[in-house]
């Protein structure tokens, strides 16, 4: 493997002004974390506004690239050949060796883009471009120069050492996790909430999660499914503290006391309250849900407003304006879809009325909730106290 170094390109971080080093440090630490189980030894460091990864002799290239593709904040991953400076003649040899190794055939159009980060280098960039282009044409007569739309853009960066690369493998983009606070994700076994978690995390937010299960109405397998989903999201977001709340008694109590067409709304209001309790306990700054307007009865504008009303923390809904198909595409891309569609009952689908209210009246809902006064606080308290916390890595 001629790539002993990987150059990491990052986008938005570069424009963050005085906070830039914070973002860079976070990205370095996320990269170190992502590579901890990859075969090989890696040295991750910042240098002149770039992040580099030096790799040892025996590292697993494919596994490394794959791991880096999970790291938010990385826009491009460039496998680099690093050579010592030894005159322009030798640099020409190096560039030819690079092309020989990296490409199987040599009939492409190309251009050379030289950057002199070390201004003390005696030859101007344009001159280096011409010289190297000439050497390439000599070595590979079927290659052609095209400065407008080349098939290969050969980057040569002259620093303390010289970096040669031509491939930019796309990264996830976004911001390094940990640079934008922490939020509590309401995670179900469905398609939407893992996607919501992914999207918020992509903005640099660390995640906690809350799942409501309702044994015996939901099974151990349904819970395992949610743990699996949290694990898949955690590949991007880093470790998640998953709170598994036993919601059965609250659900049954609401069922006993309140009108059945309001069950879902009232239930969701209590879910939000409990999730917010844990969010505050953990110092999270917001709640995240996978709701999308109009998808089901509990996700009409009026219903969303009614559930929102119980929270003081902001509630973010990153997929609010997405069609189901758009959400599914993301789920497929990030690898949560297959797990999400496994057929286990989740607690929202059990006590659904045939015709739930779609335009709940907040006053009516509150009136119904008053019927719960006798026992609900105690039940909520018990649910909180008996919550199981699973650390998902």
């Amino acid at each position: 493997m001629i790539f002993k170094t990987i150059l990491i390109k990052y986008g938005e971080i570069a424009i963050k002004g005085k906070n830039r080093h914070l973002f860079e440090d976070a990205l370095v630490s996320r990269i170190v974390h992502a590579l901890r189980d990859v075969e090989g030894e890696f040295h991750v460091y910042k240098e002149q506004g770039r992040i580099y990864i030096d790799c040892n002799e025996t590292y697993d290239y494919d596994e490394t690239i794959q791991a880096l593709q999970y790291v938010f904040g990385i826009v491009g991953i460039c496998p680099v050949m690093k050579v010592e400076e030894a005159g322009l003649r030798q640099l020409g040899n190096d560039v030819i060796a690079f092309l020989e190794h990296v490409y199987e055939t040599h009939q492409q159009t190309f251009k050379v883009v030289t950057r002199r980060a070390r201004k003390s280098y005696p030859i101007e960039s344009m001159e280096v471009n011409c010289e190297l282009g000439g050497r390439i044409l000599e070595a590979f007569p079927e290659m052609k120069v095209d400065v407008h739309d080349p098939e290969i853009t050969l980057h040569v960066e002259i620093r303390e050492k010289i970096y040669i690369y031509s491939k930019i493998i796309p990264g996830q983009g976004g911001m390094p996790v940990g640079t934008n606070g922490k939020a509590m994700l309401l995670l179900s076994g469905g398609i939407d909430s893992p996607v919501a978690g992914y999207m918020i995390s992509k903005r640099g937010v660390r995640l906690d999660a809350t799942y409501f299960h309702a044994p015996p109405y939901t099974s151990e397998r349904a819970k395992q499914k949610v743990v699996d989903l949290a694990q898949q999201v955690a590949r991007y977001s880093g470790p998640i503290n998953l709170h598994v709340v036993n919601f059965t008694d609250i659900q049954l109590y609401i069922y006993d006391k309140c009108p059945h067409d309001e069950l879902t709304i009232i239930m969701r209001r209590y879910m939000m309250k409990i999730a917010e309790h844990f969010a505050k306990e953990r110092g999270d700054h917001a709640l995240i849900t996978g709701e999308s307007i109009g998808q089901v009865a509990s996700q009409t504008m009026q219903s969303l407003a009614a559930t929102n009303e119980v929270c003081t923390l902001p509630v973010f809904r990153p997929v609010i304006g997405f069609d189901k198909q758009e959400i599914v595409s993301i789920a497929e891309r990030i690898g949560t879809y297959e797990t999400s569609i496994l057929p286990f009952e989740d607690c929202c689908t059990i006590f659904v009325a045939k015709h739930p209210v779609t335009k709940p009246n907040l006053n009516a809902i509150k009136r119904s909730e008053r019927k719960l006064d006798e026992k609900i606080d105690e039940l909520v308290q018990t649910a909180i106290e008996t919550t199981e916390i699973i650390r998902v890595e």
């Binding site: 044994p215 015996p216 099974s219 057929p343 286990f344 009952e345 689908t349 059990i350 045939k354």
Partner: protein, 385 residues
Amino acid sequence: MEAYLDNSATTRCTEAVREVVVRTMMEDYGNPSSKHMKGVEAERYLREARETIAKTLKVHEKEIYFTSGATESNNWALIGAAMANQRAGKHLITTAVEHAAVLLPLHYLEEQGFRVTYLPVDERGHISLKDLEEALDDDTILVSMMYVNNEVGAIEPVAEAAKLIKKRNPKILFHVDGVQAYGKLPVYPKKLEIDMLSVSAHKIHGPKGIGFLYINDKVKIHPLLLGGGQQKGMRSGTDNVPGAAGMAQAAKEAYEHLEEHTAHLLKLKATMMEGLAKLPSVVIHSEEGSKSAPHIVSAAFPGVRSEVLLHALEERGIYVSAGSACSSNKKLPVSAVLKELHLRQELLESTLRFSFSAYTTEEEITYCLATLNELLPVLRRYARH
């Protein structure tokens, strides 16, 4: 307290089974194909296992072939025999309530140009011999039938079916899926005129991953697995000595104590059925008497979905199977077998199967009944409206 009432799904190994499995893994671990002592020693286990099993069936030991379990046995019997005999005809007969390991190989054969007739069953799960008689034609080469239905415990009229089949044409092969029958009932292929019999070890307190196919010496059949030529080239693959030895031990125990085990199982079944009958609005699918297996009781609990009841029982240490696997409120992929029984939707969705073993105790049954009695009113109150 714990009550494992899911013995038709799988069983716990007996101590003696564990002992022989461990011994053949840790001490006598040779490969029967090796030429040295270790190999000869291992081969001895295999031979003894074959003899032991052959004896329980009253067949010749060379007619026993070890497989990875009943799925492989069924696949092999159906595909291997259909392919080997297709010049004699292309018509196959089975029942509508077979296990997927029979139905799917038959679907595959349909794609290969075979014709398959699926015999319907009555509300207790039994086929009608008249239907079978009418389905047999000059093109028929194979009939496949389960001995005991795994979901409701119905015993199919295997002996009578064999007589009909052989009367019509002695060359028609008769395959029996004996997974729920072997170890619970006497099964004598020669007397019953069964040509092939599939069995799995883990249903009778043996290890998982081992089973056998009895193949009458006269049956023409192709191997499915080709390779190193083990088992006379009919089933290649390194011999699973621990599995075979463990299965033989389990078979031996099952048949040495068959009478007392059966008496015990019948008593458990009677207690269970009596107890269930006393609970409010329970519909029992299984019957008493000789047309139903002694170890399976299937019943519906209208007003409670089976999955919910299953998990509620699980919370109290009681393990059973749901007759139907409900997945969400939109789609209810109800068991095809129960559907064949023409049950009302409400019963389909609320059916549980309780299955016992010789090691199940009366206390477990009583505990299960008491728990049901306590759970049902609560769960029914919160049924979906």
